[in-house]
């Protein structure tokens, strides 16, 4: 029922005092930045942020990036909730809403393949199929060795150079079979 409507309302409910900020920081500009939080304790990460509710998204990103398996643990969510004086479900709802957050362990490298119309026109689906075959997993899964997770993404904003995918923070454009193979073999040995 009225999905988009729900989503907007949900943000309002989660951030009763920070409506505007919450809406503005939906997609933070962090794609090209390296993870600055590696190997910190949750407390050290939280201390880097002011305890304002509109910092929730940034905090969740930091906590997720900090985890070697690229996900948010219940413990991390609880700590974030406590720090921001939010209830557990408010934080959980946000983490579950945005596809960039995961509550399950993921691989060291997260491959996000764009399946939006422009990429699809440029044979993006073939890229996905090739990755599934090469890695032996389907979208949403992680390789048994824990190196790769494969996810599908809506538009990555690279339409002029479609088809595209991202591996963690790095964007790869003009993909074809050869380039996919090259990139993956590089990451296999990274």
């Amino acid at each position: 029922m009225a999905a988009v409507f729900h989503c907007i309302i949900q943000i309002f409910i989660t951030f009763p005092n920070a409506k505007e900020t919450a809406l503005c920081t939906v997609i933070p500009v962090r794609f090209c930045k390296p993870n600055p939080y590696g190997n910190m304790s949750t407390k050290e990460i939280l201390d880097k942020f002011e305890a304002r509710q509109d910092n929730l998204l940034m905090i969740l990103h930091a906590l997720q990036d900090n985890h070697p398996q690229n996900y948010l643990t219940e413990e991390a969510l609880s700590d974030a909730a406590k720090y921001l004086k939010l209830t557990k479900s408010s934080v959980y709802g946000v983490a579950k809403y945005y596809s960039m957050f995961s509550l399950k362990p993921r691989g060291k490298y997260i491959i996000r393949v764009c399946v939006s119309p422009v990429c699809e026109l440029m044979k993006g689906k073939e890229v996905l199929a090739q990755l599934e075959e090469t890695l032996g997993i389907i979208a949403g899964e992680t390789t048994p060795c824990g190196r790769f997770s494969l996810e599908i993404a809506e538009c990555l904003g690279q339409c002029q150079e479609a088809p595209s995918m991202m591996i963690n923070d790095k964007v790869f454009n003009h993909l074809d079979s050869k380039k996919v193979n090259e990139v993956i073999s590089k990451y296999r040995h990274k």
Partner: protein, 908 residues
């Protein structure tokens, strides 16, 4: 008052306040536009889209729940196109919805499905897809189940939790069609949910339902609904009890009525199973050779009457005493008091108020002339500053706390908490002052000094309404002069900066309310603490108008009423002193006894009665519905005192720690088996109504009392019903003169209500105080060190208190699985640094020892308490913390210092 505007809905002319909600206006005028997500207690959501209407000069169809009425609005609520749209929307919702229905709840969605002819699958346009969506069920809460397949994502539960209860425990998870509600991390039972069940009450589809008794309920078949008043704390919530086959199977909040407007807490909603518990006392029991044996009522009552009579003849009338009960009705207590004064012939009658708010009441009586709360509970919602002192209201008065949270969350009111221990309200507080235990007088004198030195006093108020005017003020000023912020910080440990800010906020507020609790009253300096609060209130003029004043929330359902009807060693009904001969003469006439027979000297108070028993002065006692073997201080001493009694009668609904010591146990009816009245914390007289029959031979308390009096040769009067008793109360207590049962049928009335046409009094002291000269009185008091302090042998100071899920001696609350599933264990809170220092770990069993006794319990490590201080709930009979507390009394109010005992701990 808003302007009235004229609108039409389907050509019907309607007048409504400008800006009112269109859907609600239509509903109030008999036009029910279909809706699911709208509820009048909540802000409009506009999610279900069923309340679509057409409004002239507006484009298309609009949701009436989000429209405010304006002059000249022409609304079409029903036409073929709108009805078709609604049917389409319902049909669409149905596709994602599991429409199985077990008849145990009110299903608003199903009603609409039937109304629009969509009950049969072949009439539906869209295929059912809910099974493929993999919606989960969450059964982890002790009291409720959530089934996402029945949820239509209408937001009502989320808003019920957030806007109504101020808790915001629920959210959505996932997106779009796969979204559903989550408590915590999809484990309701591990979330912050405290089980109040507001979400259940407002859920329109049965997605959130209660666990207890579901299989017993079919709402269309054999359910009797009885409105009554909650038996737990003193908020006086109005309940609707659902009765099936003589058993209570559900409790709902009554909407639209003060004081709770449909809201309940976990105890009110789920704490009724004790009524039907197998351990209820069902027959009179007489102790023979150390064993209780069943007896007939005649046998038991004759024995009781004979023993009381013999005791009186042998040792004199002073050898008899009674404990009445804040759990029973005004009518029961009035007759109990009448029995003691008229038949026992003394004033040795008291009850648990002496253990809770006696000091508050004493201070208020001396300073402002009334011991009851000066304002209404709902005034909290409109306050801009609430000073909450020693009052864990979210746990002890959860529904009062919802009004406080509304003020904070809706209009930015500032809550100032003074409490040595963290309480959940701290989350909503502007300032939390955390003084060391027992230093409150210094802290408040410091705040008063700030107010005086910054000239935040209300001179006009002092001159007009304070006894002694500016001269009395100068005395207070002189006394408080030495309480500089630095000096106060040294005594209390409270930051001078925070203390100064708190004083300023309180003094400058427009509508400040003081909510003072057990933390302030249960000290040897309890009366002094409240004097200080009143001093601060009087010099700032923060009383005597609507929304400003002081309010002690009462701990038990009827602790207010029992005092009001004169069940006190010091006062007759309506707070008229025992010594007032003219009043005694009036009462003697009403009772039909010679004036000389009514003792004109004060009787013994609760703890004094036990001390007199210990000293052999009181020989026989009648205890109705109290459990002093848990709730009295210094239990070892109480036990010795009780054992010294020649004869003890205990009248109760369950065997308790105290019935063990009785010679006769009399089985009584519980609240749901009674007619009568309670008085809540804001002086509201509320009806109690019988929902079920008492078990076995259990009798009404007042029947038992009248029988004993009769058998002692002095009948109390000829009462056919509880209403007859009430009418006599109204004759003896001027504050109740205008109240009768017929006036209480729909809603409660706040005393004083001096006449039949008087509406009751929402705010006290608007014109004058209730003191003899009508003026408020300042009582400057100095800080004194507590007589019991931590020392090398007993290095910790122990504080005691209550938790949300249990209630007092837990006779009632621990006999509800719903409540014990939440919390059922005693514990001792200890600061992490102390724990590290002593080498204690979470969960360690320890022995806690004071100068008076020792108990064993479990350690919980928490920053909720200060270093050097401990906290323990007093509900649990297996770790009765009152073995450690003192019975050294506040000299004015005779209250015992439950909050401060020096103890040491040993690892077991």
């Amino acid at each position: 008052m808003p302007n009235l505007v004229n609108i039409t809905i389907d050509n019907k002319k309607i007048q409504a306040p400008e800006g009112a909600n269109l859907l609600q206006v239509a509903k109030d005028n008999g036009i029910t536009i279909p809706h699911l997500c709208y509820h009048k207690k909540l802000t409009p959501t506009g999610a279900c889209r069923l309340c679509l209407v057409k409004i002239k000069d507006m484009r298309g169809m609009v949701t009436s729940c989000t429209i405010k009425v304006e002059e000249g609005m022409e609304v079409t609520a029903f036409d073929a196109e709108l009805e078709e749209a609604r049917k389409y929307l319902l049909d669409y919702l149905l596709a994602e919805h599991n429409d199985a229905y077990d008849g145990s709840y009110h299903d608003e969605f199903r009603e609409l499905v039937i109304r629009y002819g969509l009950e049969k699958k072949e009439n539906r346009r869209f295929p059912s897809i809910w099974k493929e969506l993999g919606y989960p069920k969450d059964e982890s809460s002790p009291v409720l189940s959530y089934d996402a397949s029945k949820c239509i994502k209408c937001f009502r539960c989320i808003k019920a939790c957030d806007e109504v209860q101020g808790k915001n425990v629920l959210s959505f998870t996932n997106r779009g069609i796969t979204s559903y509600i989550t408590g915590g991390f999809e484990k309701w039972g591990e979330s912050e949910c405290d089980g109040c069940g507001e979400c259940i009450q407002l859920c329109p589809t049965g997605a959130i339902v209660e666990k207890p008794h579901r299989s017993d309920i079919n709402i269309e078949n054999g359910i009797k609904k009885v409105r009554t008043t909650c038996p737990y704390c003193g908020v006086g919530c109005q309940l609707e009890l659902w009765v099936k086959d003589g058993k209570i199977v559900r409790s709902m909040g009554v909407e639209d009525i003060s004081p709770n407007y449909g809201r309940l807490c976990v105890k009110g909603r789920f704490g009724y199973d004790y009524i039907n518990h197998s351990e209820r006392l069902k027959t009179p029991l007489i102790k023979k050779d150390g064993q209780f044996v069943e007896a007939s009522w005649d046998e038991a009552l004759d024995l009781v009457a004979r023993k009381f009579k013999e005791t009186k003849e042998k040792y004199g009338r002073e050898a008899l005493a009674g404990y009445a009960s804040a759990k029973t009705t005004n009518e029961d207590n009035y007759l109990f008091m009448k029995l003691v004064r008229m038949v026992f012939g003394n004033n040795n009658v008291d009850y648990c108020t002496r253990l809770c708010h006696a000091s508050t009441v004493t201070a208020m009586l001396k300073a402002v002339g009334d011991g009851a709360g000066s304002n209404s509970i709902e005034d909290y919602a409109n306050s801009d500053c609430m000073l909450v002192t020693g009052n864990n209201m979210i746990e002890t008065h959860p529904v009062t706390a919802t009004f406080v949270k509304h003020a904070v969350q809706r209009q930015g009111a500032k809550v100032i908490i003074i409490d040595p221990k963290w309480t959940p309200l701290v989350k909503d507080a502007y300032i939390w002052l955390q003084p060391r235990l027992g230093t409150d007088v210094a802290l408040l004198n410091g705040m008063i000094r700030v107010i005086i030195s910054e000239d935040l006093v209300d001179r006009d108020f002092i001159k007009k309404r304070v006894d002694g005017g500016m001269k009395a003020f100068e005395d207070l000023k002189a006394l408080t002069a030495k309480y500089t912020p630095e000096y106060v910080e040294e005594i209390t440990g409270v930051s001078a900066k925070l203390m100064i800010e708190a004083a300023r906020v309180y003094a400058k507020a427009r509508k400040p309310l003081i909510a003072t609790g057990m933390g302030y009253s249960q000290q040897v300096t309890g009366t002094h603490n409240v004097f200080c609060l009143i001093n601060m209130m009087l010099i700032t003029g923060q009383i005597g108008r609507v929304g400003a004043g002081i309010n002690p929330p009462r701990g038990q359902n009827n602790v207010q009423g029992v005092s009001d009807v004169g069940t006190s060693p010091f006062t007759y009904p309506g707070y008229i002193p025992v010594e007032d001969a003219e009043n005694r003469r009036k009462v003697a006439k009403i009772w039909g006894v010679p004036f000389e027979e009514l003792d004109g000297e004060k009787g013994l108070s609760t703890v004094e009665i036990m001390q007199a028993a210990y000293e052999g002065k009181v020989k026989a006692m009648y205890i109705m519905g109290e459990n002093p073997m848990i709730t009295d201080p210094n239990l070892n001493h109480t036990e010795e005192a009780i054992q010294k009694l020649d004869f003890l009668v205990v009248q109760d609904i369950f065997p308790t720690e105290t019935t063990r010591y009785a010679d006769v146990i009399l089985p009584a009816a519980a609240f749901a088996e009674k007619e009568g009245t309670f008085v809540n914390s804001d002086r509201r007289v509320l009806r109690v109504r019988k929902a079920v029959e008492a078990p076995g031979q259990a009798r009404q308390d007042w029947h038992i009392i009248t029988e004993i009096a009769e058998r002692m040769g002095k009948p109390l009067g000829n009462y056919q019903t509880e209403s007859d008793i009430w009418n006599e109360i109204a004759q003896t207590a001027p504050i109740f003169a205008g109240i009768s049962y017929d006036r209480l049928e729909h809603r409660g009335i706040q005393w004083p209500c001096p006449g039949k046409d008087h509406p009751g009094t929402a705010t006290l002291f608007l014109e004058k105080f209730n003191t003899p000269n009508g003026l408020g009185k300042l009582h400057p008091v100095d800080f004194a060190e507590q007589s019991e302090r931590a020392d090398a042998k007993y290095p910790f100071i122990l504080n005691t208190g209550r938790i949300l899920y249990q209630y007092h001696s837990s006779t009632m609350s621990r006999r509800n699985k719903s409540l014990t599933d939440f919390a059922n264990e005693a514990y001792m809170l200890m600061h992490p640094d102390d724990a590290a220092h002593c080498g204690f770990h979470e969960g360690d069993m320890v022995k806690v020892i004071s100068r008076r006794g020792a108990i064993e319990t479990t350690v919980r490590i928490s920053e909720e308490v200060l270093q050097g201080e401990l906290f323990m709930p007093f509900h649990f009979g297996e770790a009765p913390v009152n073995k450690l507390t003192r019975d050294e009394l506040d000299p004015y109010s005779k209250i015992a210092p439950f909050k401060i005992s020096a103890v040491r701990m040993e690892k077991l």
